[in-house]
């Protein structure tokens, strides 16, 4: 218990950052270097913070009680999905660093907007955000982030073994060839982008009460770069990579706390050394080489679609 008191926030933060790493990993599954996650994270947070503090919603809060919290998650998810499509469709015509920068531009535009609007509390931001389900301690947020994380991992695992996941991989390796082989690049790139946006938005909506306050500093360029580092240091070719990277890199400055002034220097050195010695990321090194695929036995003649696979009927 004492352990949770002291390190609960850190543990929850590790999961939270792992989730944000995953949100960046989603577009990367389709080869898209999008750094928009902090923007959606910030948006999700603002939606939650506004619904939880703005007098205009006091009726809702009274009526729904704790039910308001899931509602903030849902609304954040929807808003991020919508904005994801609006931004994604034009932006995903860009490639590589150009896309990265366009998405950073998106993050910056949102940041400047939130600095200037009254509903977002300007530079001070929103504060006094009530706690869900009577949470008293930060570690209790594990009850939110852990299930979300498990769901996200299941989601991504299933995804990567599915037809959609294959389409993502095809685009990641060679967009033009994927197109020629029948995979619509736009459709799947936008889908991957939106998945990341929704995840970041939900995490944001859970994080506003978690941090007690919300302001324009939540969605910045620095955060974009940090999430990217999570994915790359963790390993960009496995769902575990962003998670492990996010958890470890966000914990690192805390682990180094005793070094006081020197901790960020060491933190920097760790980043350099990790990049040099873990070129495939932490997870890339841990995960064993994939086993050679085993061949399924063909089904007996009378079960399912069978017979000669290629007939003009199946075309």
């Amino acid at each position: 218990m004492e352990f949770l008191q002291q390190y609960g926030f850190l543990l929850a933060t590790m999961l939270q950052q792992g989730l944000l790493g995953l949100s960046l990993y989603a577009p990367l599954m389709a080869g898209q270097l999008s750094l928009a996650s902090p923007g959606f994270y910030a948006l999700g947070g603002y939606i939650a913070a506004i619904m939880l503090t703005n007098p205009a919603f006091s009726g809702w809060r009274d009526a729904l009680g704790n039910g308001i919290y899931p509602l903030t998650w849902l609304l954040s998810a929807l808003a991020c999905a919508l904005l994801g499509v609006i931004v994604g469709v034009p932006a995903l015509r860009l490639r590589g660093i150009y896309l990265a920068l366009a998405t950073i531009a998106f993050v910056e535009i949102l940041r400047v907007l939130s600095l200037n609007l009254t509903i977002t509390g300007g530079a001070v931001g929103l504060f006094g955000i009530p706690q869900p389900f009577g949470f008293q301690d930060r570690w209790q947020y594990l009850w939110l982030f852990l299930p979300l994380l498990i769901l996200a991992l299941l989601f991504f695992r299933q995804l990567s073994n599915s037809r959609t996941g294959r389409a993502f991989r095809a685009i990641r390796e060679d967009e033009l060839a994927a197109d020629a082989m029948g995979v619509s690049p736009t459709r799947y790139k936008v889908l991957a982008f939106v998945i990341g946006a929704v995840l970041a938005g939900i995490v944001g909506s859970m994080s506003a009460p978690f941090l007690n306050t919300w302001n324009a500093k939540q969605g910045t360029f620095d955060a974009s770069v940090a999430y990217l580092a999570y994915v790359l240091i963790g390993g960009s070719r496995s769902i575990w990579g962003p998670l492990v990277g996010g958890a470890l890199l966000s914990a690192l400055p805390e682990v180094l706390r005793s070094l006081s002034d020197w901790r960020l220097v060491i933190n920097g050195l760790v980043l350099v050394v990790a990049s040099l010695y873990l070129p495939q990321g932490i997870v890339g090194r841990l995960i064993p080489k994939p086993k050679p695929p085993s061949r399924p036995t063909p089904p007996p003649i009378n079960e399912g679609p069978s017979g000669p696979p290629y007939t003009s009927e199946t075309l």
Binding site: Q6, Y7, G8, F9, N116, V124, K217, R263
Partner: protein, 363 residues
Amino acid sequence: SPIPIGIAVAQTSNASLFGQEQVIGARLAEKFLNARGGVGGTPIKLVFQDTSGDEAGAINAFQNLISKDNVVGIVGPTLSQQAFSADPIADRAKVPVLGPSNTAKGIPQIGAYISRVSAPVTAIAPNALKQALKINPKIKKVAVLYAQNDAFSTSETGIFQQTAKDLDLNVATVQKFQTTDNDFTTQVTAVLGENVDLVIISGLANDSGNLIKQLRQLGYKGLIVGGNGLNSSSMFPICGQYCDGVIVAQAYSPTQSSAANQLFAREYKAQYKKDPPQFAAQAYTGVQVFVDALKVLDHKKKIADWDLSDLRIALNKQLLIGKYKTPLGDLSFDKDGDIVQQAFYVAQIKMKDTKNGTFVFLK
């Protein structure tokens, strides 16, 4: 064993410019107060936890201080936004917090355990404008500039603009900038285009230093009034000679005559060869307030005999009712925990050479 008091300020990140002054102020307080017998003979021990510049860092620092370092109270964090994030943690844990530099509206209202020694902007700003009018009664047209991404500056500029209206001044233009900006030619040429007699700046030391320098270099001749963020000698190296004559609203003045301040200012100057900045003074004050309140409790029952959680609760109660003679002058707290400061100051910058200068106290 010594009594642990937590200092959670930004020792790293770009807020460390303030954080490092706060560390110095707190360290001086520790040294001094212990030299004068600490709390009834028991020395205090400051426990420093870096908050870095973000919200999560502040929460982590607070949690460490509360659960691991078992401090009796916390001075911190550096930024208002961090306070909104971390203070509720301490409040729920019933650990008294003194904000050394959180000036945004609503901070003492976070909870019963949250107080601050940094005066809110409302109190300080108007004086400076009145001083400017005293110096040049013919002022009619003013320009207002402020750092739009800084919580403190945005609220301060509101006060400035309101006061200007109340004084029948004509606010010809309002220009915004970012604390990270370096180049202000656009804002400056806009100001020059309006032919104003007074420029009012709310920002932090670096950006304001550059802004003032560029205003002067490009030919602005009139008076300049700066908000509380300019109350820092770290501005001098940036604007050099051009700082000369700037009128600054202050929550702290090195010239303040109280004994506490004279002692503090002398020691600071001996070590650092310049006047103590406000951030150091406020951090010093934070520590001192805790120590003074602890002394009262110690009279009732030796600190060592208190149960920690009882002590924290009692400390908070005591802290709020006490009166303190500090480098900031005499102060006490209102029922929310907001500072009631007896004196505010207006000073004018006098540069000795390109790097060194002083804030000359204006009556």
